[in-house]
């Protein structure tokens, strides 16, 4: 029973997110409850909190791009990206995102995982271009369509990254698999592991290209009458 009590943090997280409580508060409550259930005192919990918080500061480094992105946005970066897309007659939302998916996945598979990102690429460039491609065809977009296109742009960045990077031999996940299997008595080279990520990478690319093709069809069906 006391073992199962340590799962209270998992329960708090699931309930808290389902009820849409403030995520920061939910996560802190879950962490404190888990620590208490595991028999750690409050001082120990807060100390562990600070240690892990500092150790994971690197996750916030993406925000350092905001001063640049904000300054460029103020001076019309999105408008310029949209004007550029307007000149390409063949551009559609789906095709543009297909191109970004290909670039993202190929660069990630070469280990260039920094080439992309939601703050540096999707918000200032990819999402405005994808929206503009739809606007050029169908005029002013309803808000829901606009948000759907943006969500797809964000998803492309993730999917290209996740299923591209695992082909590269020196990426964190491959090294983690290798380290874990090594210590369990199965010595392998990173290449032996990375090789088996290729079939899934191809499947991910095919599935996502198909979904983007369907996105174009959906935009055509829902908005096409107006053009």
């Amino acid at each position: 029973m006391s073992l199962l009590l340590t799962l209270i943090g998992v329960v708090i997280v699931i309930l808290g997110f389902a009820l849409r409580l403030n995520p920061l508060l939910v996560v802190v409550a879950a962490a404190v409850a888990t620590g208490l259930a595991a028999g750690i005192d409050l001082t120990g919990i807060v100390t562990e909190f600070g240690r892990a918080f500092t150790q994971n500061r690197y996750m916030a480094l993406v925000w350092l791009t905001l001063p640049v992105i904000g300054m460029l946005e103020k001076n019309g970066l999105k408008e310029r990206a949209q004007a550029l897309i307007a000149r390409v007659g063949a551009a559609t939302t789906g095709r543009l995102l297909m191109l970004y998916l290909l670039i993202r996945q190929i660069t990630a598979s070469l280990g260039l995982t920094a080439f992309g990102g939601h703050a540096a690429m999707v918000r200032p460039l990819v999402a405005p271009m994808a929206e503009a491609a739809a606007e050029n065809r169908y005029g002013e977009l309803p808000p829901d369509t606009r948000f759907l296109i943006r969500a797809h742009a964000a998803a492309i960045d993730n999917i290209g990254l996740f299923y591209g990077e695992d082909i590269f031999i020196a990426i964190g996940s491959v090294l983690l698999i290798k380290a874990f299997l090594d210590q369990s008595g199965y010595p392998l080279t990173p290449l032996q592991i990375a090789l088996w990520a290729i079939p899934t990478a191809i499947a991910a690319l095919a599935i996502q290209l198909f979904r983007l093709w369907r996105l174009d069809r959906r935009l055509q069906r829902e908005l096409g009458k107006k053009s």
Binding site: V27, P67, G70, Y163, W196
Partner: protein
Amino acid sequence: MSVLDGIYLLLGLMFAAAAWFNLRDRSDPRHLRRAAFWALYSATFLFGTWLPPFVVGCLAIGMAILAGIGLGKAGAAEPTEIERRAGASRFGNRLFVPALLIPLVTVLGTVLLQNYTPGGKPLVEMKDATLVALGLSVIVALAAGLYMLRQPVAVPLTESRRLVDAVGPVVALPQLLAVLGAMFALAGVGQIVAKEVSWFIPVDSAGMVVTAYCVGMALFTLVMGNAFAAFPVMTAGIGLPLIVKLHGGDAAIMGALGMLAGYSGTLMTPLAANFNIVPAALLELPDQNGVIKVQIPTGLALLVVNTLLMYFLVFRF
């Protein structure tokens, strides 16, 4: 002090500026809460390297409490359409240069920092190369932008304040989730779940074992928010004893495809905040799960693909 510490100082200054502008902006009654939130976050970067962990822990919990009582809506004015259109026609394609410098310099910088080792010693620690390169790329892009667009030096700071206020407290969520992961690890949450789950698997069916491992990886990642946290637990609990030892599967294939099965979970969970919740906030989606909803079909399809691939490949090589 390492180079990376210097870059954290820059980040601290950026959040300090956000705190300062909110403090001075009385247009919204909750501006003080926002000022306090960004000031606390700023302190974790400005002094984080030197503060005792207990103090940083208190700062982080303070941030969560402030976020819980509500920071209100962003106060900073959006740049006007006239301003943006004027900039777009005045600067044209030059606007892309600083934007593209960020990824280009990051990539080049990473390669250089990892390979340039004067006197056999790298300039920065290998694992920090990308992070340092990202920091340097921002400095380069900022300098290029200020020069090319002839902007006042305060503009990047007022604009970053606008953007961090727009994203809101979610800015700190990935880090807090990492804290939760550390706490789960400390309490052994993973081992408990794996033990409970393994009671229910019919171990003599190779297909069931593979399915349990792949689906388990995805579900576990869903709950932990991180496939890296799920992998050791599921692999020690199910993968190695059942797939490799009992049924004679190949360890490399199990490991590679198992991790990828976990990524299906990453695509579908709000706990992978940096991939799913942060972009929803950055793109100003009204639904914080908007990105996840788009990713669910791909996540499920790839889970099926990975399970089938493992079933057909893992016993064959």
